[in-house]
Amino acid sequence: MSQLLIIAAEGEMENPLVPPIPELVIGLLAFVIVFGFLAKKLLPNINKVLEERREAIEGGIEKAEAAQTEAQSVLEQYKAQLAEARHEAARLRQEAQEQGAALIAEMRAEGQRQREEIVAAGHTQIEADRKAASAALRQDVGKLATELAGKLVGESLEDHARQSRVIDRFLDELEEKAEASR
């Protein structure tokens, strides 16, 4: 308490809420210096860079988006091509199947035709052989019969028999009998 009184008496204690002029001036000066540097030089600097960075980031995003769009379109193109190729393949397969079926049918027809030809040729051949065999047989049988008859009669009737139609007639009769019995 006594100290405060001394201080008050000496009048050295100023009211701490009354600002001394020189300090106001220095305070203003100090702040204006800071404000000047920051506002005129340093903050515009950093703002520019921040803006550049923002643009760089946005540019990067744009690039990525463009790449993605391109990839998407390429993918769609590929898909379309693939679908087309599948379609084409299916069509070709269908076509091949049809062609194959036609070919098989044709071959079968051809085979049938050849078989019939062969069979027909066989028939003709058999008929011809039969006729030849029958003719030869007739001769042989006639000769044997003549020989047999000659032996039975005891004399050669060869020349005579050839001129006559006895044997032929006999054989024709036999044939007719065979025909009738068949």
Binding site: I7, G27, F35, N45
Partner: protein, 273 residues
């Protein structure tokens, strides 16, 4: 204990408890300095506070100069730290209160204010200096004055004379018979009390913080005798605690100051209803 206004450092008193000398309590004299140069009566002098103020300016500029002189799109460590601070004030304070479109113009002012005040506050716990510049009313006062001039002139520019008057007085027809009283109170509150509290809020916080630090520091020294040593330990722990607390208060008060600045500017720009 003399009435000499020079600050007496605690260990210079060489006075301990039980030595028969009184406690050299901190007081108003702790905030007065003998001029380093010139004469205190002539208004032409240079003292420790002024030195710290100018040094603080140089530190703030130096920091931002190093960080933002040649800024890079891909930032280095220092630039990243400075950018974080800058962005905090720009987005967290200016854009939040004034809005991006209108606020952009005031970003440099608010950023400068914040880092200037913060630096001035920080002097409180920087060894050797150990004195918050803002605990001298002149420094908060001049900053509050700048803000005051800005928002008053902005109000007039934006609303014209009548509009500005309505803005200052909170003119509102619905109040009816209370209107004159409300206008009177609002007028005083806005134009006279507001700048005063704006400055004093910062000043008083720093003043009290410095006094507390001084108190515990001096007590630690003063108690360093006999049984008092145990109490000195407690007191010293309090010094550490208060230092950490001050570190927080310093940033907070700088933040509050710029937040209020932005609120005032926003009020000046806002349409009056």
């Amino acid at each position: 204990m003399s009435a000499d206004p020079t600050q007496v450092l605690a260990f210079e008193t060489d006075c301990h408890i039980f030595d028969g000398c009184g406690f050299p309590a901190p007081g108003l004299h702790s905030f007065l300095f003998e001029p380093l140069w010139g004469d205190a009566d002539s208004n032409l002098y240079f003292n420790k506070t002024m030195l710290l103020a100018l040094l603080g300016s140089i530190i703030v500029i130096g920091f931002f100069w190093a960080a933002f002189r040649k800024p890079k799109v891909v930032p280095g460590k220092l630039q990243m730290v400075a950018e974080a601070g800058y962005d905090f004030i720009r987005r967290g304070v200016v854009y939040e209160t004034i809005g991006k479109k209108e606020g952009e113009k005031y970003v440099p002012l608010v950023v400068s204010l914040f880092f200037f005040i913060w630096m001035m506050n920080l002097w409180s716990i920087i060894p050797v200096a150990q004195f918050p510049v803002t605990s001298i009313i002149a420094y908060p006062a001049v900053l509050a004055l700048i803000v005051y001039i800005l928002w008053v002139s902005l109000t007039f520019k934006r609303h014209g004379f009548v509009g500005a008057f309505k803005n200052f007085t909170g003119y509102n027809k619905e109040l009816g018979p209370v209107l004159p009283l409300a206008m009177l109170i609002e007028f005083f509150s806005n134009l006279l009390v507001r700048p005063f509290t704006h400055a004093v809020r910062l000043f008083a916080n720093m003043f009290a913080g410095h006094t507390l630090l001084l108190l515990f520091t001096i007590a630690s020294w003063y108690l360093l005798n006999g049984i008092g040593i145990a109490y000195a330990g407690v007191s010293f722990i309090m010094v550490l605690v208060m230092t950490a607390f001050e570190l927080f208060i310093q940033a907070l008060q700088a933040y509050v100051f710029v937040l209020l600045t932005c609120t005032f500017i926003q009020g000046a720009l806002a349409e009056h209803h």
